[in-house]
Subunit: 427 residues, 2 copies
């Protein structure tokens, strides 16, 4: 039976959740009032809360390292991607699939080489593999940030959104391959051998098997799962079946080395109303509707915590600011080349490029691995370089919500303007 | 920003949640089909899952000690008590308040003395304070189990339910006082001094202040909280305000040393529709409705985990079985005396007594503290005694759902029978 955690400890976690929800809703309110996505308010609210230490107030210091909040945030982002998957259609995603693939490929190649050359320029004495690692860090895309912005501004049902989401998922696989190549090359260099390509083949194989597996499970297993669930007695069976499906696929994707959110997104995509028609026939609500309160409770925990973990004091280092600024610049420019991969006529190429900018937690994971790797007795990502990468991640993450919302809204105004023209012509 | 926990670790937690939901729903189905409360199925499903090790299958061993599941379970039980509070009316609880107080007092006094004498009988060489501690362990009441059963069978809106819930909350305060007296006496005995009654006065003062504070917050602060929330832009404001209120009071009660669920229950009681009329006026659903999916997702985690943590191998000790059986017997009999405290005419006294039986996690917390206390170089609750207490906790917890449901259903049948009589008379 659950043991007593100290009342004090439990009290702190509960207080933290209450505080995070408060900050999320106040921050969201302020930014929605300014016509910007709520997620930006959650991130900035979190940054404020996490950096009160700079003003000498260290009450909230514990929030940065609390394992319990970490778990709640992790589950929160899974609910977000599951919801986004539910709100997307697989056929629509596949229709723009070639664009997604090209966008993902360009969004990896361009930032990689730009990052490589910037690193070579600023750190001439560093080993080639260091430049390679910094280039690799720029390849990441945070589907969480972009997906949330698209949802906040009600634009999930656009070709731009589909291209970005598809590209971000492909990017997760490409990122794994790059990471495997880079870390494999470093181990090989340390051991004095050469890197074998087996690892790449294995990752591609696992990823392919996962996606094929998810589709098969979606098409053949989930209808049975829901049919069985619809015959069970008890309340909340539809929700439970959906969550078992979502967590099951998320766990599977985590266990084979992909991000768990990729599995959650796949689960949302694979689930179709037709699978749970029995529940709808007896008057139950659709999964999207039932899951909304959970999403609304848990998703902000992820974004506020993401803000809390930003340590502004790492940005105060004058010596790295030049490197950090140029790295950030090429991180933004590199992803703009993605726009060239958009094959869908009339799609907003700028919005696609902007949507690929945020590195979010994915960029930090890369940097963290680099900081823990050792090449010839030195860490691959030394502390000052790590600070520069964190700077790049923070700026690319914070800049995306307003500019992406602006770019997609501008398209709307364009359309409305042309309607207005037609009206005046016909009138 | 949230750091990468190892993909493997996250994968295991997600898999565990999926598995727990599966076990909960299958267990719930089986027991609902048998006409018993779903919670019994969740507990037994958890016991099965947690004790597969006895069959040589140790895949699920990690579930017992996973901190993340612990946190999710803790939040789950908070949602349950908040929901029960929302579904109860303060005025109705106060109407039977004297009965609750008497039931709580009798439910502490009778089991205490019975436990004391049984301990004296079976452990004649042990110190008096050991008997006192064992007596104290029998005083606990698990409001989680009883509240859940009453909700499962749709009986929250009865006088019996109100008396039990009120008594269980009062019992939490009495339990704290007893614990303070017993641990204080042990420290005093170890130090060769005598126990001062200041601690008791302080606990009573804190508990009283908490309840007064909760009512004041409920009456004066929460209408303002919801009025402000209703003016903020963004989605999910009603839910967020309700959760901030619930987690805030839960945290407060944890920080002053009460169980967090007492705060959650108080928050649910204090919240009244009238406080968030603004939200209802614009067509939003009531909090009870919005919170249901979260409750349905998180509450089973608590009960299945409670089952998982039951270590059946502790019951296999022949030498303690006699002591364990008699201890369990007096734990059940002791709480039946509670029925005498029911002053409400026509109330089902047997059901009230049965509803007070489960010791649940509260009994284990007491036993755990006893095992960690040392008196004259020996633990107050030695390992074999601890096993006997665990046996008592498991049996009292598992026996309550079916017998309480049976007792309250019998009352129904009695009523129906008398209606049938009237019908035939009038017909």
């Amino acid at each position: 039976m659950p043991e007593a955690s100290g009342g004090h400890e439990v009290g702190l976690i509960l207080l933290a959740v209450a505080l995070i929800l408060l900050v999320a809703k106040l921050g969201g309110h302020v930014f929605e009032s300014l016509g910007m996505p709520a997620v930006l308010g959650e991130l900035l609210g979190g940054i404020l809360l996490g950096n009160l230490t700079l003003l000498g107030l260290d009450w909230f210091e514990f929030l940065r390292h609390d394992m319990a909040l970490e778990v709640l945030a992790e589950i929160g982002i899974i609910f977000l991607l599951f919801t986004i998957g539910l709100e997307s259609k697989l056929s629509e995603l596949l229709r723009v699939g070639l664009s997604s693939l090209l966008v993902a490929a360009l969004g990896v190649i361009a930032p990689f080489f730009l990052g490589f050359f910037v690193s070579q320029w600023f750190l001439p004495e560093a080993a080639t593999l260091v430049h390679v690692f910094i280039g690799a860090t720029l390849c990441a895309t945070s589907v969480g940030i972009t997906g949330r912005v698209l949802r906040d501004i009600g634009k999930l049902d656009t070709d731009e959104a589909r291209i970005i989401l598809g590209a971000a998922v492909i990017d997760d696989v490409l990122g794994l391959i790059i990471l495997a190549v880079v870390t494999g090359s470093i181990s090989a260099a340390n051991a004095g051998t050469t890197f074998s390509t087996d690892a790449i083949v294995f990752i591609l194989f696992k990823a392919l098997m996962f996606f094929v597996g998810a589709v098969v499970i979606g098409l053949f297993v989930s209808p049975h799962l829901f049919r069985i669930a619809s015959r069970l007695r008890g309340s909340g069976m539809l929700l439970a079946a959906a969550l078992i499906f979502c967590f099951g696929l998320s766990a599977l994707s985590a266990l084979i080395g992909l991000a768990p959110i990729v599995g959650a997104f796949a689960a949302g995509l694979a689930l179709d109303e037709i699978h749970y028609q029995d529940f709808l026939d007896r008057g139950e609500h659709r999964i999207e509707h039932v899951i909304e309160p959970i999403t609304s409770f848990m998703v902000p925990i992820f974004f506020v915590l993401m803000g809390i973990k930003v340590d502004l004091s790492t940005l105060a280092r004058g010596d790295i600011l030049g490197f950090a600024a140029v790295l950030t610049l090429v991180a933004v420019i590199g992803k703009q080349i993605c726009g060239l991969g958009v094959l869908v006529p009339g799609a907003n190429r700028l919005a696609v490029g902007l949507g690929m900018i945020p590195r979010g937690e994915v960029g930090l994971i890369f940097a963290g691995i680099g900081a823990s790797l050792v090449l010839a007795g030195e860490p691959v990502i030394a502390p000052p370089i790590y600070s520069a990468v964190v700077f790049m991640v923070i700026v690319t993450t914070l800049v995306t919500p307003p500019v992406l919302a602006w770019s997609l809204a501008r398209g709307d105004r364009g359309e409305k303007a042309s309607w207005a023209d037609q009206d005046s012509e016909s009138g």
